[in-house]
Symmetry: C2
Subunit: 381 residues, 2 copies
């Protein structure tokens, strides 16, 4: 196998915002793009056919979860993740690092790697940079991530340690990587500290990888801090490579990220909110279980072209929620995913037409009509 090029063509810039095309072995990703999250090799409550209809191109899957169940060897035996989950467009896997630090029990970090207990059955495991790459090569995604350590964003000393370890681990990831048909992205860390973020971005840039990621954000810092960090980092990261802001995905975060030069986003938010009956609309988030929707014939969002909005009323979806019917989660997931994917498609068009500033301002003005949008944290399921 010859090395795949992972060409990234920037079609247009508008301020810091960019419209581009990233070529992968499973097709071209038009950016900016939102990647639905398929934690356990399925985007919760939707089928791949529905994802295609929504217009998804890139889907994310979690290395930590798939390593524990069903195991990367089974996935490889089944022809890799694309075949296993029947998603024939591009896939990105994370490194497992974030889940080891957020989900697993009894983790112990040393220079070489991390010991942890499975959150499923308490069994003992160890991840190293080499192990993470080996698992991701077995899974076979188009984009794979370096094994990193996500520190508490406000602790400077811990952030410095984590950042330096993340850099040393990246060099080991680069050395151990074998498959030529996967793009390895390095991850910028550094908490909320501009100097650390700059230093980390410079190191990531120096590795000349096919893409860069910004990690350790949307983990408890303020929106102002997040925006400042994106700006610092994107002044340093290579302009000719895609930039991926990890785990970020509310509508206003997408708009603000694109404004600051981010190309790729992922988040569980749209599907998780859906299971909690919350839906995106142009004028903010609504809770479909509210009595106000009991006899509302209108769709979730009048302007939306998704399957749920074209065919079902708020009253019907509220009935499904009260009756505890699975179709509720399916319909609201389809809507929320469509909303974010349509948003990135509209943002792309605005960039191509050099009117992104006006587009973004207009979106944010309408979005903030509804004050409840500022509470984005929904308890984990």
């Amino acid at each position: 196998m010859t090395q795949y090029l992972f060409d990234y063509e920037i079609e247009k810039t508008d301020g810091m915002a960019r419209a581009g095309s990233f070529s992968t072995p499973h097709g071209v990703i038009q950016t900016p793009v939102f990647a639905p999250v398929g934690t356990q090799a399925t985007v919760k409550s939707v089928t791949p056919a529905q994802l295609l209809e929504i217009g998804a191109s890139l889907v994310l899957a979690n290395t930590y979860h798939l390593y524990l169940r069903p195991g990367q060897n089974l996935v490889a035996e089944m022809g890799g993740l694309h075949n296993f989950m029947n998603w024939k467009r591009p896939i990105l896997t994370d490194s497992g690092g974030f889940q080891v630090f957020s989900l697993a029990d009894n983790r112990k970090i040393d220079e070489d790697g991390v010991d942890f207990k499975s959150h499923i059955d308490g069994s003992l495991h160890r991840f190293t940079p080499e192990k993470s790459i080996q698992i991701q090569e077995s899974l076979g995604a188009d984009i794979i991530m370096a094994f990193d350590e996500c520190a508490e964003p406000h602790e400077r000393d811990y952030s410095i340690d984590a950042l330096n370890r993340t850099h040393r681990w990246l060099e080991r990831c680069v050395r151990s990587k074998q498959r030529p048909d996967q793009a390895l992205f390095g991850i910028v860390q550094g908490g909320i500290f501009p100097d650390l973020r700059k230093q980390s971005a410079e190191f990531i840039a120096s590795q000349d990888l096919p893409g860069s990621a910004i990690g350790g954000l949307s983990v408890g810092e303020s929106k102002t801090e997040m925006h400042a960090m994106i700006e610092v980092v994107n002044q340093v990261l290579p302009a000719d490579k895609p930039r991926y802001l990890m785990g970020v995905g509310s509508p206003e975060d997408l708009i603000n990220g694109i404004w600051r030069g981010v190309d790729i986003f992922d988040c569980v938010l749209p599907t998780r909110l859906a299971r909690h009956h919350a839906a995106f609309t142009r004028t903010g988030r609504i809770n479909l279980a509210n009595a106000a929707n009991a006899s509302d014939k209108s769709p979730i969002d009048e302007s939306c072209l998704c399957y749920a909005c074209q065919n079902f009323s708020r009253a019907y979806i509220r009935h499904l929620i009260l009756a505890k019917e699975m179709l509720a989660a399916t319909l609201v997931s389809i809507h929320n995913l469509y909303f974010l994917l349509a948003l990135t498609r509209q943002a792309r068009q605005a960039i191509l037409e050099t009117r992104y500033d006006a587009f973004a301002q207009d979106f944010l003005l309408r979005w903030h009509e509804n004050a409840s949008n500022d509470q984005n944290n929904i308890k984990d399921q």
Copy 2:
């Protein structure tokens, strides 16, 4: 509104088996047919778009459930059940009788009707034949059912009482019915007693309704008893009207029912089994959670053309089951529904080609290769 004709054209008979076309205001139902059950105005875990792809024509919804939640008046306000649940093909509603007798608490029967408590919140309600028809007229299905009493099938005295009450109630249903665009079917009762079944079928036949139903079967009697009752009843029911065997729907029950002159079936079995990880195959039922499927690349059924079988392995579906992912129920429901609908389509073709006996014998021979098929009872969810 002029009276809709509900024309039933018999295209071909083959022994007692029949291939026909039943015309309703929402389209023609080609028989024999299996109707997926959408208890609460949704066939559990599948979308209407998926139901269309499966080839469903008639869908059943439950009057008892929809009366309690969201209420027939809301459904009427939303434009009726077809609009509410976005199923634009034919719909059948039952009368609520069966659920009042099987689900509700504290029921008290008198000549006029039944008092009962809601299984949801314990609130007090009363159904009468007139009330059942009024609710079903608000819901607006194409086929509506007479309010009947389903007795314990082996108790002769109770069966006689229930049968006579059911007949008197049918006359009240006929008198109170107003909408000309709904077909009212009467229901034959009589437990496992041939003389009572014959008497009941004669009474139903005398009412000259657009279709007939056989109730009170698949409720605890043996298969032999069920088959004998179908034979007795179908010798009496009008040959030029569709015959609906209520609540029956395992593959072998469909084959045996069609053999004895039944045209319409419904059952929660395919979707309920799916939520318990059980799938139909040509050689019998399998449990997809079994370890034997852990690395099985083959689909649920090699010969099946459904979305699940065309795109996913048993290994992947087993992974979804172990990971408690909703997609498992969706994929297995799609498969089980497709299996039964394909079976009725194949049966229809066999009748049209005067080879139903051979088709049925061949199916049953292969089906019974797997002994576990004889346990059809899955605990209610």
